[in-house]
Every structure is written in C-alpha cells, then in structure tokens.
C-alpha cells in the first residue's frame, strides 16, 4: 500500500485547460470522492490516474514510483489499478467468469490459482451462481457487481470509479452504495470515486475533493464540507441553504444567533456573506429583530419548504412543519450561520 499524490498536475486539450495545477495527497486505504459539476475536470483526473491521459504539467506519484510526469508515462497496462466504468465495460463475448478472470489470464496465473481467485472475487460481490452467464443476461446492478469483481481480482492497490452509479435507478443506487462501503471495508484498497452527485459522495467518501473549472475548491471530510464550506461557490454547491448579504465580516467563522442579528441589522454596507442552512431558521420565534415575507411554500412530505424575502431583499430558505400563507410576514430567528469569503463571480 502506498500513498497516491498529485503534485501541481495540469491538463490541457489544445488551449483549453481542463485541470489546473491540482495537488492532492491520498492516503493508503482512503475512500476519496472527486465531486463537481460536469466539465469540472474530475473525469480527466481519474483518466490521468488510470494512465489513459498524459499530464501536461506536474506529476503523479504512487509511493516512490512516478506514474506520470511531463517526461515519463507509465502505460496503463503496467499500473495494476482496478477501475469500474460508468458503462460497466463488460466484454459482451465473455461469460461472467471470463470477464472477472481476464486480468489473471493476462498475468498468466496458473489454473488452480485462477479458479480460486475468481471464486473469491465473485464471492465478495455474491455472484458465484451467475459465473457462466453472459453480461447480456444480467441486470444492471449485477453487471455493476461483475465490474466490481473484475476490478479487485488482481488485488490492486488503487481502484478507480468513474460515476459507477449514474446508469442505475435510485433504489438500486442505494443498495449499491452499501455494497461499495462493504467492499471498501473488506479490501482496504485506496479508492478514488468520481461523481457529480453530492449525496453519493457524502455517503461514501472519507475525504472529498470539490472541483470547479479544473480547480480544487475544497479538500475536506464530508462533514466539514457541509458545515464549513471554504467559499461562496462551495456553499451554494453543497447542500441546501441561503447566502445572505451582511456587513463586512472575515470568512470561515461560525456565528451565533446574536452575531447574526448584529451583522444583518442596520446594515451600512453589505460586503459580507453568510451561509444559513434551512434547519437553522426558526419560524416560531417571537423576536422582533428579524422578519420576512413568505413568498413560496412547497409541500415536501415530512415538512414544508418555505422561501421568505427579508427586508434587505435577500431570499431565505427555511423548513416548517405547517404550511404558511403566501404574503404573510413572519418573525424569525437564525440560530447559527457560517461566514464566507465572497467569491468574485456572483452566480447564485
């Protein structure tokens, strides 16, 4: 097991920079998610790790070994990485067993070992009864599990996942998430998981890299990402919440209810930004300090989503147990908020 590190890695296609001086250190055995909207460069990073793409600048190291730099490129076939593709990439002309065993066949593993290791891999994904079927005779979830077995059969140090759940329905996705977590616990391999679905990333990963336009926005645990976003863009991208204008305040600090009132009340300027999660808005409060007009009320089953317009014109998202009438003015209190460094593009 070895540490995987990317040092100032860049990738450009023509004059378009897809990944821009990205540095990440992935500890052995970690489950890492690369999260971002489409076009953020997350798949390119994965393909550089796999060796399908060269690097335009910087280098990728695996322990002491250099995988890629501007001068050297270790071909994919010599890396011993596993990968699970979005399309599963099962070879349609081979049975489940042949698919899983192909990496062993290439390594010229002897017959006995071959049988045993394929069995073991299929056991992990609980597909031993299906080993003589063709991929076309399997369901989507089963195919994904075959791909998983194939990626681990050579016991690779690193397994890469390229949006593996994007083609599955919601129900199957949840059960595959559980499979992936068990799989990670059992193999202890380093896993790098690309997704655009933040809930998936939060549920699976120990550590998440949030990417935008090829740049690293934040590199932290899922909890930190949610409660302590680095900047306005991340705050918008992760979870639900409202960003309110307030008096100038330095970023990255947790505000109490009183701090919030102080910053929102009687603004002389509004250069500051704070993130308020909807569960921290209390609409049954009776303080006279803050109030808002209900603009929209949407039924969500277990609760109502309420959107209020504050006196300064900002919109605030809150939860409530009962419906409210549109146009009604409510007194409210904000229990806590997180201050943000304003980003330069105001695209919220």
């Amino acid at each position: 097991m070895a540490r995987l590190s990317l040092n100032a890695v860049s990738k450009s296609f023509g004059d378009k920079t897809v990944v821009d001086a990205l540095s990440l250190t992935i500890e052995p055995g970690q489950f890492v998610a690369l999260l971002g909207p489409s076009g953020c460069g997350k798949s390119t990073i994965l393909r550089m790790l796999a060796g399908f793409e060269t690097v335009s600048a910087g280098d990728i190291q695996h322990g002491d070994q250099c995988l890629s730099s501007t001068k050297f490129h270790l071909p994919t076939e010599e890396r011993n990485f596993g990968m699970v593709f979005q399309s599963y990439a099962l070879w349609p002309h081979m049975t489940v067993m042949e698919n899983v065993g192909y990496p062993l066949k290439i390594q010229k593993v002897d017959r006995q070992n071959y049988q045993r290791r394929v069995q073991d891999a299929l056991d992990i994904v609980q597909l031993n009864d299906f080993k003589d079927r063709l991929p076309s005779q399997l369901s989507g979830g089963q195919r994904q599990r075959v791909a998983l077995a194939r990626s681990l059969v050579t016991e690779p140090d690193v397994i890469l996942f390229d949006e593996p759940l994007a083609n599955l329905d919601r129900h199957l996705r949840e059960s595959m998430e559980i499979t992936f977590r068990e799989f990670h616990r059992r193999t202890g391999a380093t896993m790098v998981y690309v997704t655009h679905d933040q809930a998936e990333a939060m549920a699976l990963a120990d550590q998440i890299a949030v990417l935008k336009d090829g740049q690293l926005m934040q590199w932290s645990t899922p909890e930190d990402l949610y409660t302590r976003p680095n900047n306005e863009w991340v705050a918008n991208f992760i979870g639900q919440g409202s960003i309110l204008r307030c008096q100038s305040v330095s970023g990255n600090q947790l505000l109490t209810s009183t701090d919030v009132i102080g910053l929102l009340y009687d603004q002389t300027e509004h250069q500051g930004r704070m993130l308020v999660r909807p569960q921290h808005v209390d609409l049954s409060a009776t303080s006279n300090m803050l109030q808002g007009t209900v603009r929209e009320c949407i039924f969500r089953g277990e609760r109502y989503d309420i959107f209020l317009v504050l006196e300064n014109g900002d919109t605030l998202h809150a939860y409530h147990t009962e419906p409210l009438e549109i146009g009604e003015t409510r007194q409210l209190s904000i229990q806590q908020a997180w201050t943000l460094e304003p980003s330069h593009d105001h695209d919220y």
């Binding site: 060269t54 071909p75 994919t76 076939e77 596993g82 990439a89 099962l90």
Partner: protein, 567 residues
C-alpha cells in the same frame, strides 16, 4: 504526442500502416498528376495539348455529359419514387422490395448491358421465342446514347434510393402530425414539409449517380463501342488499345479531365448539400408513414411491374440466351441446350482460367484487406480528429476516382520494372491485385471502421487496466466484438472485385483474364451465348453473396449493408 501513452508495438504498427496508405492511396494519383503535368508544355506539338484540341476529346466529353445527365435523371425518378413509396407508406414485405431494388447496383455493368442487349434487337432469343423479333438487319435500340443512359440510370438508381431512404428514415412522424394539426392538406405536407427536408439527400444522391455514371466503363463499352459512340472512359480504353506515340501522356491527360469532372461533381454536391441541410431536432421512435388504404395493392402492383421490367425481364432474357444453340434462334424444346454451360466448364480453357483468376484475385484481395483493416481502423481511431479525417479521405481517393483512371495510374507506376527488385509486375496478375487493394481498401474499411468506432471505448480501456498490451487487446477484445463487420467487409470486397471489369480491362494480359474481361471479350467477338451463360452464373453468385451478407446483418452496425435495414 498522441502515441505517447501507447507502447512501441503500436508505434511500429502505425508507422507501417501509414506507409501502406501512402503506397496504396497516394502514390497512384501522384504518379498520374506528374505524368499529366509533364505533358503540359506550352508547345502545340505536345500530346497533352493535342488531346485538348482534338475534336474527338470534346465529342466524348459531350457524350459523357449527355449520357450521364440523362442517366442521372432516370436514376432520380426511379430511385426517389421507390424511396418515397417503400419508406413512407405501409407497403407490405418492405425488406424484399429493398433487396430487389438494390440488386441492379450489385450486378456488374457488363452483365446488365448484356442482358438488355438480349432483350431487344433482331437476334433477341426472347423475342424470337415469342416470334415478335424485328426483322433481321434492323438496329438494336440499346446501341445508342439513350440506351446507355437508360442502363446508367437503372444501375445508379439505388444510389439515389439509398441516400433518400436514409434521410426519410430520420424524419419523425410528429412532423406530419404537427402539420395535420395545423390543418395542412396532403399536398401541402408534401410541398412544405417533406420535400424541403429531403432536398439535401436528393441532391446528394443525384450527384453520386452523376459521378458514378461519368466513371462507368462497362455499359458504354458494351453499348457504345460497337456503334462508335464514345464517352471519356471508352475513349481512354480505345487510345490504350491503339498504342500510338505519346499515348501515355494522352490518356493521362484524359484521365485528369475525368478526374476534374468527378471532383467538380463531388464539390458541387457537398456545397449544395450543406446549403439545404437542416438539423432535425428532437427524436421520435416512429418515422414518418402514410397509410395507403385501398391504394396499397395497386401501388405494390406498379412497383412490381417496374421491377419486372428493369430487373426480371432482362435477367430472363439473359437466361434464355444462355440456353439456345446460337443467337437469333427461339427457345423451345428442340433448341434447348446446355451446351454453353458444358463448353464453359469443360472445353474453354480460358473460361475456367478466368473463373479461377477472378476467384483468386477477389479472395486474396478480400482476405488481405480484411487483415489490413483491423490494425488500420484501430490506429485511425487513435488519431486526432483532423489527422483521421485526412487519412480516411486519402483512402477514399482511389475508390472515388473512376476505375479507368486508377488503371492508367497503375500502368504509369508499374510500366517500368520495380526500382530495387528489378522485377516488372506489368502484365502479371500482381498489378491487378495491387490495383484492387488500392481501389477497395475503403470498401473494406468502412464497415470495420464504423463497427470499431461504435464500440464503447471503455471496453478496451478495461482490458488495458487488466494489463493487456495492444496486440492482446486487438485479439482478445476488439476482434471478437467486431468480427461480423470484418466478414461483411471481406464479402463486400469479394462481391465487387470478382466481377470487376474497368480496372482489369486495362491491366489484364493473356493468361490473366478476369471474369469481367472474359464476358466483355466474348461479347465483342460475337460469342454472346457463352457470355450469357457466364453472366447467369455471375448473377447467381452475386445474389448468393448478398444473401450471405443479409444473414450477417443483425450483428452489424446500422447502414453497413446497403440493402438491409430493420425497419
């Protein structure tokens, strides 16, 4: 740069492949241009300027234009009519109509010409059988410009049909429904919706038919040469046969003339097509369709009648001709004889030789091309887009230029012994073989390339992650998954090359006759019954190979086999 992440195997492979493309595709055309330019001296005595001033050249030029133009018109009427009816209506047994309509394209032109010649004229066995043959000495109407145009039209109608049908299949039904909701009448739907949307395809098909007519050799050779009606390809053929002074420069000049015409036609087509193309937004599962109602049976009857006239009756004439003892005799129980077939198989050394030559050439060309196209398509797909487009258009060149021009290019290339080896392949079968490789590379490549490009890239990448090198990936993953396309490519090459006439007409030599040349020569020397018997076998061979391909069709990418579709 693009090869940096691949291993040395691949690098070595791609280098040799590019050398090969250059040899097969670029070299012949380059040689031709050099020869033609050598002739362009500002000297009134040069063969090139002489050919340009010769009235014979411009007569052939006019004839080429007339026959091709009229032929294109016939092709458009036939092809478009069939395409609209077969595609847009609820006609029954669609697949059979498509197959039968495509057949004339696959039957070699010299056979088509022969069968139509047997249909008319005083010696026609079929007319004699019914006792309605015109008086002896009256001319066969097929020996004329209009006869040539008619057959060019029938031969190339499938090109228009295909271009239009592909486009029609993309038109979603809801366009018609939207027009109906807007209360458009049936005529308004045709004029305002269907015609504008299919104009591009119609123009493209017409241009293809025109270009293909210009380059056709078999039909004007069989129908024009006997009455001294020459078009550009037959003029070149006669010049070659004449072996005069400066002959090579003359034919090179003529070849350039045809090439420019063909090139002009293609550029015009591209330009017109781009101007009239609309991006179709949205997609619908069902394509346009009209219900014929009580008109269905009459429509089917009309289509059947047309097919009967352009396909079945000439074929019957051909079959009848092959069973009579001599031309001009009627077919009945007394005259019926299979002597032509017996003679063909037993006595005529040249016939069996031509059969084995053609089978050998076609077999070797299809196997070699199939083996070449595996690494070739693989490497093409690894190239950056611009280089890939360049390489594929280079491969297209020898197929796009008329066969007669390609043959001239090969004569120029190999007239002298090979530089280092000191061996001459001129006058041997090898020169025909090489010309076939050059000409049919794109025929073989297309299905393989399209199958490979449709394959999910991840399948190969997964093998790469499994540790497989380039050769292992090709053999274990890519070959099994694209195998049907390989067979399709090989059968297509075999089908076209086994009957090929144009290239071999100029490159053959005694002992190296091909089937196409044999039929042509037998007809020229008046041995029409024997020529008919061979043609019958050729038609059977073509139909059998086409049926083989149809069997492969379900496992091939869409559009690989022109006469097959799942709709």
């Amino acid at each position: 740069m693009y090869l940096r992440n691949t291993d040395s195997q691949l690098r070595w492979l791609s280098l040799s492949i590019f050398l090969l493309i250059a040899l097969l595709s670029l070299l012949p055309s380059a040689r031709l241009i050099v020869e033609a330019l050598k002739g362009v001296q500002f000297d009134v005595q040069s063969p090139f300027s002489e050919i340009m001033r010769s009235s014979q050249t411009w007569t052939a030029f006019r004839n080429s234009f007339y026959t091709s133009g009229l032929g294109t018109l016939i092709a458009v009427v036939l092809g478009a009519g069939f395409a609209f009816i077969v595609t847009l209506t609820n006609i029954r047994a669609r697949a059979i109509w498509v197959f039968l309509f495509m057949l004339p394209m696959m039957i070699p032109p010299q056979v088509t010409a022969l069968s139509w010649l047997q249909l008319f004229g005083p010696a026609s066995p079929i007319l004699n059988t019914f006792g309605i043959a015109p008086a002896l000495g009256s001319p066969n109407p097929m020996y004329s410009a209009e006869g040539i145009a008619l057959l060019l039209g029938i031969q190339n109608a499938p090109l228009v049909f295909l271009a239009l049908r592909t486009q029609l299949l993309c038109l979603p039904q809801d366009l018609i429904e939207a027009a109906k909701v807007a209360r458009a009448s049936q005529e308004a739907i045709w004029i305002d919706i269907i015609l504008p949307l299919t104009r591009g395809a119609l123009i493209a098909g017409a241009a293809l038919a025109f270009v293909s007519s210009l380059g056709n050799f078999g039909i004007p050779a069989m129908l024009g040469i006997p009455v001294n009606y020459l078009v550009l390809p037959t003029l070149i053929y006669q010049k070659m046969a004449g072996f005069g002074q400066g002959m090579l420069s003359e034919v090179a000049g003529l070849s350039m003339l045809i090439s420019f015409l063909v090139l002009g036609g293609m550029i015009l087509q591209q330009w017109l097509q781009q101007r009239s193309e609309y991006a179709l937004v949205g997609h619908s599962s069902s394509h346009m369709s009209f219900r014929l109602g009580k008109w269905r049976t009459p429509t089917e009857g009309a289509l059947g009648l047309i097919l009967l006239m352009i396909l079945v009756v000439p074929c019957i004439a051909l079959v009848v001709s092959s069973f009579v003892p001599a031309l001009g005799m009627p077919l009945n129980s007394q005259t019926f004889t299979v002597s032509a077939y017996i003679e063909m198989l037993a006595n005529q050394g040249v016939t069996t030789r031509a059969f084995s030559n053609s089978l050998l050439l076609a077999g070797a060309a299809s196997v070699v091309l199939m083996c070449l196209c595996l690494p070739l398509s693989y490497i093409l797909l690894k190239l950056p887009l611009k280089a890939r487009i360049l390489a594929t258009s280079l491969i297209e060149v020898p197929y796009a230029i008329p066969g007669i021009v390609l043959a001239i290019a090969f004569i120029l290339l190999f007239a002298r012994p090979l530089p280092i080896l000191g061996v001459s392949i001129y006058g041997s079968m090898s020169i025909i073989f090489l010309a076939y490789l050059s000409c049919f590379l794109s025929v073989c490549l297309k299905p393989i390339y399209s199958a490979m490009s449709q394959m999910d890239k991840a399948l190969e990448e997964a093998a790469q992650l499994a540790g497989a090198n380039a050769i292992q990936r090709l053999v274990h993953i890519i070959l099994p998954l694209t195998a049907p396309a390989f067979f399709a490519g090989a059968i297509l090459v075999f089908l076209i090359s086994v009957n090929e006439l144009t290239v071999s007409a100029l490159l053959w030599s005694a002992g190296n006759e091909t089937l196409g040349v044999l039929i042509f020569n037998l007809d020229e020397s008046g041995d029409t019954v024997l020529a008919s018997a061979i043609s019958v076998l050729v038609v059977l061979l073509v139909a059998a190979l086409m049926a083989c391909l149809s069997l492969l069709a379900p496992r091939l990418p869409k559009g690989v086999i022109p006469w097959h579709d799942s709709v």
